[in-house]
């Protein structure tokens, strides 16, 4: 019996004991080596852990102005692929999210949550290969019709099958916040879990095995692949290039602003649109900062500040792809120019 099998059996057992059980897997991105990662998150060794497979954990507390506090304990699971790591908690995600952000704030952007855009959530809805998406039920979906601050409460979409749910989400251009799913894992078995856009998956009940496989092996690969273009960015520009010359008409700038403003927990300041588009964007989820330029007709160029995380680039990409299709992502190549290019007006 492998260590994760032991963990699976223990978690399934716990879920049977409680009517509303939550065991949350927090999907983290960090380029820190293991020792540094442990130090940054203050993950201390535990001699005896109630959770199998756990050797280190940390507790994060947030003191509210009301005098109350919220606390959550996060345990490290032995799953590590490239820059992907997993913490696990037994608190409800709504209660643990704030302590999680508190924990990440300590690392000053060196560890961040992996955002799960709608395509990845959709990929999570199929736990068994070849299983029709229609057979997965969405028990509860929460999405943003627009920015939460624009007066709208989160909207609960009507539960239904996952295929219809995701099609409607795309048509209505909503930003998915959480989706509680009930996915078949066999002829008469299922797994009930919630996927959160912020970067977590919460197991509630049912057969855990396929979900654990997803979290421990399939998802890390997908997530690692998705951030690869952004990992090498450094201070260079990441270019989102479109096939059509979208920005010949400068009124299209407002669509870009809408797309970027749509990103939750960000602030966007449009410095100017004339003569060219220049905006500053901060993602408070991991403190990443970006300068965004449109200086040509078909390219959006994004420059991350020093500590901008690849996960944060991914959030921006998710936001842009909800508005525009077919953007190819690449790093700007260092330009090489000579004196004659300058004098010929080619620079």
């Amino acid at each position: 019996m492998s260590i994760l099998d032991e963990f699976r059996a223990w978690l399934e057992g716990r879920s049977e004991e409680e009517s509303f059980f939550s065991g949350t897997f927090w999907l983290l991105f960090s380029r820190l080596p293991e020792v540094e990662f442990h130090r940054a998150l203050e993950l201390n060794a535990v001699s005896v852990s109630p959770i199998p497979a756990v050797a280190r954990s940390t507790t994060s507390t947030v003191y509210m102005r009301t005098g109350n506090s919220v606390r959550a304990t996060f345990a490290e699971l032995p799953v590590h692929r490239d820059n992907f790591r997993i913490l696990f908690s037994l608190d409800k995600p709504a209660q643990a999210l704030r302590p999680m952000y508190r924990l990440l704030t300590r690392t000053r952007g060196r560890v961040s949550l992996f955002p799960l855009g709608a395509p990845l959530v959709k990929a999570c809805a199929r736990l068994v290969p070849g299983q029709p998406l229609e057979e997965t039920q969405v028990l509860r979906g929460v999405s943003y019709p627009t920015r939460p601050s624009y007066g709208g409460a989160d909207i609960n979409l009507r539960p239904g099958n996952a295929s219809v749910f995701f099609a409607r989400l795309r048509e209505d251009r909503r930003v998915l916040k959480t989706a509680k799913l009930r996915a078949p894992t066999g002829k008469s078995s299922f797994c009930e879990f919630t996927v959160g856009r912020a970067g977590y998956i919460t197991y509630h009940k049912g057969t855990l095995g396929p979900l654990l496989d997803l979290v421990a092996s399939e998802l890390p690969k997908k997530l690692s692949d998705s951030v690869r273009p952004f990992e090498k960015a450094g201070g260079r520009f990441v270019e989102f290039r479109f096939e059509e010359p979208l920005f010949v008409d400068r009124t299209n700038y407002s669509v870009v602003v809408d797309a970027l403003s749509h990103l939750p927990r960000t602030s966007l300041a449009l410095l100017h649109t004339n003569p060219y588009f220049h905006a500053a964007l901060t993602n408070y989820e991991d403190g990443s900062e970006f300068d965004i330029f449109i200086t040509g007709h078909s390219t959006i160029s994004i420059q991350g500040r020093e500590e901008a995380s690849p996960a944060s680039f991914l959030r921006i990409q998710n936001g842009l792809t909800e508005q525009f299709r077919d953007a190819s992502v690449s790093l700007e190549r260092p330009a090489e120019f000579g004196m004659q290019d300058l004098l010929d007006g080619q620079v």
Binding site: V62, Y63, R65, L97, R98, Y101, R102, L104, T105, R106, R147, P148, S149, G235, F237, S254, V257, S261, P264, R265, T266, S267, L268, A269, L270, L271, H272, T273, P275, Y276, H278, A280, T282, Y284, E285, D286, G287, E289, D291, F293, T295, G296, H297, S301, Q303, R305, E306, E307, E332, A335, E336, F337, G338, M339, D341, L342, L343, G345, V347
Partner: protein
């Protein structure tokens, strides 16, 4: 009705003036970015360039005087360039440029003094080149000092071209204008057709300049501080609250004495200084985006998810501009300048008030 219309006219006038000033300063920073780009990315120029400093300090001729702070110092293999960029002509330009001409040397990054080489050149750029009479007075003064090196006046302007916007540099066609000494940068500036640098190229360097070396206009300081600096004052608790909720449950309070501690921003070559931040906060206070609390001796700032700025309906803003944060801040400033000006006497007494003991939650008092 007449007084209402008069007030609106005044708002539009203030707005128009401050917007022009803001745009001109923005172009100056774009020109600095363009020069920064060519100095590091044009192969032959980069090869020849030994040191570039956009916050240089050069020595005054009188050892007891303050150091001078031009906008740039470029030490190339063959020549030392002192750079100054202006929006338009000012009578004070003449003594300033003469001082740069007289300066015997500059301060190296390690703090040591270094004498200028004989092959020196003063570069003076204008967005709006001076008229003939002003150029005459400038060169009369320059030539009267018999400097053994040239003063080169050039213009820089942001132009729209079919392939995108570009910053264009060209030496001013004036008979007495100097020619740059033999060097690759000089060759570019001496080129009769000038040279452009596209916005697509210089954008990489654009975020490095928050001001020119010796000054920033208050409106620009306000916008750049609001958009780039303010978030760095957040405590860890407040950062996690922003990450979780996208807004703070209470205003951020920035105490008077904390203004002098400017957050360091990565990769910014010319950041705002304490005086710039003070001017920014005064401008934002006039725009009613920040309030000065004299009992606390602190500025209070509401920080929300998008730090949304509401512009009153009768503000001088068109729908096309409506999303531009600089326009919003300037429009609010212009409107409040006419309709609800800040009581300066209260602001002054606020300084005295800072000596009082704060009565608020100490966690809140640390920042916004």
């Amino acid at each position: 009705m007449t007084s209402l219309s008069k007030a609106e006219d005044q708002i539009r006038e203030h707005f128009s003036v401050v917007l022009k000033e803001y745009g001109a300063f923005d172009r100056t920073l774009s020109a600095l970015s363009s020069l920064s780009f060519i100095l590091s990315e044009i192969r032959e120029i980069a090869h020849e360039t030994e040191m570039v400093d956009f916050r240089p300090k050069i020595l005054s001729i009188d050892a007891d005087s303050d150091l001078y702070t031009p906008d740039g110092l470029i030490v190339s293999k063959r020549c030392d360039f002192v750079l100054e960029l202006k929006t338009s002509w000012d009578e004070k330009d003449v003594p300033q440029i003469l001082k740069y001409g007289q300066s015997p040397g500059f301060i190296l990054p390690d703090g040591k003094n270094q004498a200028f080489r004989p092959n020196k050149c003063v570069l003076l750029g204008y967005q709006n080149p001076p008229g003939l009479a002003n150029l005459d007075s400038l060169f009369n003064a320059w030539e009267s000092h018999k400097f053994p090196f040239p003063l080169v006046v050039f213009r820089y302007s942001l132009e729209s071209a079919p392939e995108g916007d570009r910053m264009y540099f060209a030496r001013v066609a004036y008979a007495r204008n100097g020619l740059c000494p033999a060097s690759k940068l000089g060759e570019a500036l001496n080129n009769p057709r000038g040279f452009p640098v596209s916005a697509d190229r210089y954008k990489l360097h654009r975020s490095r300049f928050h001001k020119a070396n010796d000054q920033v206009i208050a409106s620009y300081a306000a916008v750049i501080w609001w958009t780039k600096y303010v978030k760095h004052y957040l405590s860890e608790e407040q950062r996690s609250e922003m990450a979780d909720r996208g807004r703070l449950s209470s205003p951020l309070v920035l105490k008077w004495e904390e203004i002098n501690t400017i957050p360091e921003l990565a990769d910014v070559k010319v950041p705002l200084g304490p005086k710039d931040v003070q001017r920014a906060l005064e401008f934002l206070a006039q725009a009613k985006l920040v309030s000065f609390k004299r009992r606390l001796g602190a500025y209070k700032i509401e920080l929300k998810e998008d730090r949304y700025i509401r512009v009153p309906r009768d503000g001088p803003i068109t729908r096309a501009d409506a999303q531009d944060i600089a326009i919003k801040i300037l429009a609010r400033w212009a409107r409040n300048k006419v309709k609800a000006p800040v009581d300066r006497s209260r602001a002054k007494s606020g300084k005295a008030g800072r000596r009082r003991t704060p009565t608020r939650d100490p966690r809140q008092a640390s920042f916004f």
